[in-house]
Symmetry: C2
Subunit: 231 residues, 2 copies
Amino acid sequence: MEPIARRKTTKEIVYDQLKRSILSGELDPNQMMTETSLAESLHISRTPVREAVGDLTKEGLLIHIPRKGFKVRRIDEDDMEQILYLRISIEMRSVKMLIDHITDEELKKLDALIDEQQIAIQNNDRIRYIELDQILHRHLLKLSNQNILEQILQELYNLTRLIGHAAISKEGRMEEVIQEHREIVNALRERDEEKAADLMRHHLLTTASSVKKQREQLKNNKEKSDSLGGL
Amino acid sequence: MEPIARRKTTKEIVYDQLKRSILSGELDPNQMMTETSLAESLHISRTPVREAVGDLTKEGLLIHIPRKGFKVRRIDEDDMEQILYLRISIEMRSVKMLIDHITDEELKKLDALIDEQQIAIQNNDRIRYIELDQILHRHLLKLSNQNILEQILQELYNLTRLIGHAAISKEGRMEEVIQEHREIVNALRERDEEKAADLMRHHLLTTASSVKKQREQLKNNKEKSDSLGGL
DNA sequence: GCACTGTATTATGTATACAGTATAAGTGAG
DNA sequence: CTCACTTATACTGTATACATAATACAGTGC
């Protein structure tokens, strides 16, 4: 039988909700929050809040400023470089480890995920698009049976998402991503290890460079509007 | 004036002490402990204990078995492979990133660390030897200014140490390590990027294979004594 | 007006109490 | 003796209360 889904603890609810707010970008990185303020606004005690923010801090999504509170971490160009580098290392290995024993059924599951991602784009649902991207990449790690790498990738992926939805889901780039995903899966289907690994590297590199460009774009726009607003 | 060192919180003390016990191998991986039992034996309340074991669990040093308690995680061959792979990725990049701007002073600091490590071997102080190994590798990451990679390496390093002191500080291997460390630092001094990165890779690979051999050795010995004890 | 000091507020760490639930222990019937 | 059912024990999650220390603030004296 399926294991019964244990009902979520308060801590988990807080954790999920907070993480969502952080990663979706709806939480202003300048705004400070404290354990107490969060607990009060959620009408619960400090205990589960404290544990949730503690975990998020350890994951690097929040930073704690003693006696001031917590705020959302910022990611800079340099951090992104490092994350990209490691993701390439991890995901290329993942591809190589899974290619020999991936089944047809599992390949179909991957196809289905990409299909769903395409639908998300058509519906203009960027949140879902990003969610599915993560599911897809993570799923590959699972299939490769590299538990430790999977854990590290998860951390890196969360940090990646601090970059902001706007920078990730750039117009036009999303369609390209779908295409690249399909090519990777096709290479897996052909059992072409070299090709698959290479496509993965390429996919991550182009995503990174797209994010970088889009980020600069957004930054410029923001500066322009800021200076206008100052007049 | 020197800033006063903030006194450690109870949680930090518990965390440090527990971590030490885990990494030094003095904590039997079969033995279960609970928040309550730990709190009682330390004569403190559950709260700081709970936070400390929570953190250690997130770091992967402890595993939590619901309704049973916590125990020290075991690392298998497969995990070691993954850790090694990632450490090579990270530390080769580290070498490449720091080689252009490392100063003579910093090189001397590295020499001093290796000297100290050599003294530890002469004093047969394996704990200190391992500690210094970690400091050295971590120091290289700091010098390379790769904060995220440094954080990940720290996690990996902790997991590495779960392998056990006996397997890491094998007789004879320690002297080789010193030699390899010196060669890496010398390559840095010569600003030979290729050589330094390659020596680092080699160093990690030979360490891993030594650990693997030693581990099998220990396992065999244990089985022999177990079967004898069973008579 | 400025600096210093004492006070108030607030963030945080820790202790304690309690409730819920899963496992283990115990008890009784077949 | 075994199985089912009840009871008890213990692990965990959460709330609450309190102590401590750091910051903000205000008032007083120069």
